[in-house]
């Protein structure tokens, strides 16, 4: 049984349809990417999932049924609009938020200690939040999201305001959570993070779901017949190659319809070219994203 099932949800604000017939499922123990350009309807989808908003139509099932107060204790949420109580100490803020997730004070305090050590915030525990840097607050917020050991974690743009060292730490943390069997829904527009972390994804554009499936499947679907060749030699004209252009120190060869990459490789070998690298040019998620979004805009125009 999937951890999250979103079935044909629609939500309209005034005259604007923020989410339009969106459906997807999130399986237990996977990192699921919820992608889309700014204003696509990602945050609204998450808020419907969390029962902050009611959908106009459609059905949502979380942890095997509709959202309940009891289930809230098993969910960790890092909203895009970050914020913690600014006027109290880090320690007190985290303890209060953990207690609202049903933890006892002792247990909350024990686990908060572990996380503060791990995130390098132990010495700042008695500081007020407003005295801390943005990056520190971001880490504090992550602790608030994970401290009660949720089985479902929903994080909106988790890498905002983090430097490369902390970005890596958060990635490790998310992978570690996945290994523990935690289901993670990650909302982002940073495609390289999705490529690194996500198992499956849904792409939302203008409120509609435009792409849905596993990362491999999607890449395969958008695979093109281009190849990348790196060589010190000058490339001759090859049969079946329409044109070529430089690409990150290599050369990208655009193949004519019907031409297979093997045909090009054979041609290179026959021409006695010394090939350092030969690779089928799978599109990056960035490229797929732009392509799908532009197609959508074209269709609309």
């Amino acid at each position: 049984m999937p951890t999250v099932e979103i079935d044909q949800i629609t939500k309209t604000f005034g005259s604007q349809r923020a989410v339009d017939q969106v459906s997807f499922e999130v399986e237990k123990g996977e990192i699921f990417g919820l992608l889309g350009p700014n204003g696509a309807g990602k945050t609204t989808t998450i808020r419907i999932l969390l029962d902050i908003f009611k959908p106009d139509s459609g059905r949502v099932s979380v942890l095997g049924g509709p959202m309940s107060e009891e289930k809230k204790d098993r969910i960790g949420y890092l909203p895009e609009e970050r914020g913690l109580y600014q006027d109290i100490t880090l320690d007190r803020c985290l303890t209060y938020l953990a207690s609202l997730k049903g933890m006892s004070t002792q247990e909350a305090s024990r686990r908060i200690n572990l996380y503060l050590e791990r995130f390098g915030l132990a010495e700042h525990r008695h500081k007020k939040l407003k005295e801390m840097s943005k990056g520190m607050q971001q880490k504090a917020q992550l602790i608030a999201t994970l401290v009660h050991e949720p089985v479902l974690v929903i994080i909106d743009e988790p890498f905002n305001a983090l430097d490369p060292v902390n970005t890596q730490m958060v990635k490790d943390l998310l992978r570690e959570q996945r290994e523990r069997g935690v289901t993670i829904v990650m909302c982002t527009h940073q495609m390289h993070q999705v490529e690194e972390l996500c198992d499956r994804l849904v792409l939302i554009d203008r409120g509609k779901s435009v792409l849905y499936g596993s990362l491999e499947e999607i890449r395969h679907r958008f695979a093109v017949q281009d190849v990348l060749v790196r060589t010190e030699d000058h490339l001759p004209a090859l049969a079946g190659v329409l044109r070529s252009e430089p690409h990150n120190g290599s050369t990208r060869l655009y193949l004519a319809p019907g031409t297979q990459p093997q045909d090009v490789l054979r041609g290179l070998v026959e021409s006695n070219i010394q090939v350092d690298q030969f690779e089928i040019a799978t599109p990056s998620l960035d490229e797929i994203f732009i392509k799908v979004v532009q197609q959508g805009e074209g269709a609309k125009a």
Partner: protein, 400 residues
């Protein structure tokens, strides 16, 4: 422990253990304490304690009877020195051994005309002291009972037919109690309402709202906040009441009218009946404002709209006191925001008809429920619209 109590505990402790709160609570009694100390000190320092002289040519004070009581720190008595003739008294006044002298001429008993000679009029209390001695001695021939009654003067007590409420002529302080109690209560209502408003708007300002509503139900959150912040107000009230009781206990040793202050249970019950729904109504309105706007500064400005009508009856204190059942007083007690203060003022001077009272309180209770409904609605609509105000149309329109 349910989450409601966790929210309650958090909201309560974050205010009560803050320096700002402790300062705010203590500053009022401290202010009055210092004010009282300064005025006592000023009286003591400024008081002229030189003796008063008298020249008794009428023989009234020949066998002087003393007056009872030694006088207190504030009501100090001065020494009275008899002089055989006006020339001696005049000399003493000029070399400043006395501050003035009374002259009772030989025909004083017939004319009742005496005079006081001084460069600067002696303090009223010292004049009273001489007057009292004079009266005591004038009544020396009367039976003690008659003398006592004459000395005490008349005291009329105005009483309602059921005898539950009464007012004596010299009971001016009992008339001030409802005004004072009303101001105190309203201060507490607005302080705790202000805390509540701040608590709601703060969660929007610092973006904590989304985390909170995915941890606690909106009802538990709101109930916890309302109870927590109202308890802060009640704590404040309690501390002030303790200070007042302490001040009265200490003050009765110096000021005799404190003993004559009386509270009627009817009045206390009426205050609670009217003021508790007011408490909830203002809290609801404050929370609604907090949920509607985006900044605490803006919220404070808007909340002024509620505090103004609540205080309006104080501008009409005199007309309400002089005609507590008149159209103005009755009209103001039906309008929910002016009702609580008007009711407490009227009740101090007249019995309010039961049907009016029931209707007034019913209006307040309905308004309290309405304001909580409005607060919950504003909260649902406004909690996630950061940086965007809710319009009145949205607030009263259909829930999306």
């Amino acid at each position: 422990m349910s989450k409601l109590w966790k929210v309650f505990k958090y909201e309560y402790t974050r205010h009560v253990f803050r320096k700002r709160f402790i300062f705010a609570v203590l500053s009022i009694p401290l202010f009055f304490g210092v004010l009282m100390a300064i005025s006592i000190l000023a009286t003591v320092i400024q008081a002229d304690t030189r003796p008063l002289g008298y020249v008794d040519q009428s023989g009234v004070l020949a066998n002087q009877r003393p007056i009872s009581g030694e006088g207190s720190l504030i009501n100090r008595s001065v020494e009275l020195i008899p002089y055989p003739g006006e020339a001696e008294a005049r000399a003493a006044l000029e070399d400043e051994t006395i501050q003035g002298y009374y002259l009772l001429p030989p025909d004083y008993l017939e004319t009742a005309h005496g005079k006081l000679v001084s460069f600067k009029e002696p303090d009223q209390r010292m004049q009273n002291q001489f007057n009292e001695i004079l009266r005591v001695n004038l009544l020396a021939g009367q039976s003690p009972d008659v003398a006592k009654r004459v000395l005490e003067g008349s005291s009329l007590v105005i009483q309602t037919p059921d005898g539950k409420r009464q007012m004596a002529e010299d009971d001016w302080f009992n008339a001030l109690i409802p005004i004072f109690a009303g101001v105190l209560f309203m201060t507490v209502v607005f302080t705790s309402g202000g805390y509540l408003m701040q608590a709601v708007v703060e969660e929007k300002e610092n973006r904590t709202m989304e985390i909170i509503v995915t941890s606690v139900s909106a009802d538990e959150l709101m109930a916890g906040k309302v109870l927590g912040n109202l308890s802060v107000g009640l704590t404040q009230l309690l501390i002030w009441v303790i200070f007042i009781i302490l001040a009265m206990a200490i003050g009765r040793n110096y000021v005799d009218w404190i003993d004559r202050i009386h509270f009627s249970w009817d009045y206390l019950i009426l205050m609670l009946g009217a003021l508790l729904p007011t408490f909830v109504m203002i809290a609801g309105l404050m929370a609604a404002v907090g949920a509607t706007v985006t900044e605490s500064r803006e919220a404070q400005q808007i909340s002024g709209i509620f505090s103004l009508p609540v205080m309006i009856p104080y501008w009409f204190t005199y007309p309400i006191m002089s005609n507590p059942s008149g159209p103005l007083a009755v009209g103001l007690s039906f309008f929910p925001l002016t009702s609580p203060v008007t009711l407490t003022l009227r009740a101090a001077f007249t019995p309010i008809p039961a049907w009016q009272l029931a209707l007034n309180i019913a209006v307040l209770v309905v308004c309290a429920i309405g304001s909580i409904w409005l607060a919950a609605r504003a909260f649902r609509l406004g909690m996630l619209s950061y940086g965007k105000k809710i319009t009145l149309r949205e607030l009263f329109g259909r829930v999306s």
